[in-house]
Subunit: 272 residues, 3 copies
């Protein structure tokens, strides 16, 4: 995985983000921390020019607004035309009709490289229904060691039918291209108490995909390991009285300082 990290640091992929206004600043700093470079633009008349100078496109529907939906499609089509990787983060799919429908339409209209979400969001897209509670995964859907075999089979199957990489993140993370499935066990539960760690991961994953065209699945899995490992390193630096605001900073700091060797040593995954 260290080659994937090295490629991001060496190639400094410029990532076009159409993302929510809640976590956008952290996404930008996380992208810079991992070695990429962020640019944000959601205006329909701006996105084609912007995505053309980028290496990848990250579409996140966390604060979906009618004024930016057209921009998602136009940017996505242009990125497809240029052969750039396109990631969809279907935040809150299942929680509202607009989000579910838009995510499904983006899947139909665009050639997505990867969809990254929590298990409830991904199930919504796969099954056309879900039990999404807000922007967090439903407990009933959680990927645990008991449900792991089923979850792996589900993710692999959905990746095959959707024709793209599926990354489900939670306590255990799964990344599959329809054949192989990475099962990743990095991370800390306290990351769920910070807004936007998932959004940050989507930005980083787009940078990893853009910088590693020949090994997309491994690159997406590496991005998951980077984020989870940063969560572990950041946590190890927490001091008495620190809480989720400081933890947020320490995670991004850990991404910033992460070396390929550190990633190689700390990544905890198996291939199924």
């Amino acid at each position: 995985m260290k080659e994937c990290l090295g490629n991001v640091r060496n190639r400094v992929p410029l990532v076009h983000n159409i993302t929510n206004y809640v976590t956008v600043n952290d996404v930008a700093n996380a992208l810079l921390a991992c070695g990429g470079s962020p640019i944000m633009s959601d205006e329909a008349e701006d996105v084609e020019d912007i995505t053309s100078i980028c290496g990848g496109l990250n579409i996140n529907i966390g604060t979906l607004h009618k004024t930016s939906i057209e921009g998602m499609f136009r940017a996505g089509r242009k990125a497809n035309e240029l052969g750039h990787p396109v990631l969809l983060d279907p935040v809150g799919a299942g929680a509202s009709a607009l989000r579910t429908d838009t995510a499904l339409e983006l899947m139909r209209e665009l050639r997505l490289t990867v969809i990254r979400g929590n298990i409830s969001e991904i199930k919504t897209l796969a099954l056309g229904s879900g039990t999404t509670k807000g922007v967090d995964a439903d407990v009933a859907d959680a990927v645990t060691e008991e449900t792991l075999d089923d979850a792996v089979a589900f993710v692999r199957e959905f990746a095959k039918s959707a024709g793209c990489i599926i990354a489900v993140t939670g306590a255990t993370d799964l990344v599959s291209d329809g054949e192989r499935c990475y099962v990743i066990r990095n991370g800390r539960p306290e990351m769920g108490k910070i807004t936007g760690t998932g959004c940050q991961l989507s930005g980083i994953m787009t940078a990893y995909a853009a910088a590693n065209p020949g090994r997309l699945t491994e690159a997406c899995a590496a991005a998951v390991c980077v984020m989870g490992l940063a969560g572990e390193i950041g946590w190890s630096r927490m001091q008495e009285g620190d809480g989720n605001a400081t933890y947020r900073n320490r995670i991004i700091d850990a991404i910033y300082n992460m070396t390929g060797e550190e990633l190689e040593r700390g990544a905890r995954y198996e291939l199924r």
Copy 2:
């Protein structure tokens, strides 16, 4: 007040925020820190679905935009229909006609549970005029020990006429339901040098209201004490060279770590 805090931590209320893009990330992290869960959505076609899965609605007009005003009304009516608490934070009411008019119309059209603002904003809503200077309270309006009796009377009267809880925050905070009035003396003046501590409080207060339906006034007062006490605890952890950016993080950290006992010991209020 510790029961109010405990209820938030146990019930993890999901709060729908239609809020400004300046402080939205801190609102989300403050909500997570206090034990709630945030979701943001301002698109008119999205808000009804979103608010339906939530326990409370926080409307903040800090960067009021025509594209989100309709969403405020639609979300508010749906929340009213479902019996969810609805909070209005009239940021900058008095500073522009659009803000003043929209806040007044939200008051007329919706059944608000609580309005939280600085004294200038609240006076604008009560009296139809004000001396709001930007998003900070005017010095001439300040609630001091000298003007306290008058301020308490004003807030109680406005709460009665408006039919909702009024929370005025500043050096001294007042929370009244038209009968009782909490006078709260937690907090630090340096909190005014951080953008969005008021917005964070509005988010937290909505979570407290959602998790404590049987004791709304106490819950709103408890939220004020949490924020003010976190400001004191955060300040006590400041080190040489720290400034408002670090202080922002330390306050949210303090909210994250606050226990019911700590709140009970640290809350400084009287009931009038």
Copy 3:
């Protein structure tokens, strides 16, 4: 330069920001840190009222959207009418037609006090073309000791023809009013790994211009020194394991704590 800093702290200029949603929170906290006060509003129907109570206007096109372009023009015309300083930060000019065209039209329609950008953005505006790569300056454009004479001549000339102060920031910063040119060597390269240090500087520079009407060029140069020196001070406080997230906070902290004497001692500039 300490008088410029003192005037900001004493006069607490209220700055109206129409700015991107990526870095807006940091802009607000940086403005508070330097002694100013921020207010954000981009809705066309809101901006005239808001800018009227302010002392300066900061227009930043970092996430340019059709819904806020009209607000930029209306706010700008009102600020011109009232004699308020108006700053343009042409983020990404050269990277898209919409950004380039909007920036050029803002230059034509408004009486700008200062334009602050990286060298690629400024070249785009001056020459009608550029090699902007995203939101960062192109390496080929960089102001180095070798190209300094040419760069000074270019900036001075453009300031003269544009009729406003031009501030080009990068490894070496240049601020010229068409006659004098400040060459400033504060700052750290690692500041480029934080999103929005340029946006923060634009906010601060607007506050400095608003509080120092009699010495605008010096005020803009002082703002550049404040930001760069804060970058140096913040860096000196970095500890093992800290990265760009913590660095972001330390820079704003350093702005918050900076005294006039510290600025006078630390500012590294020459006048050409």
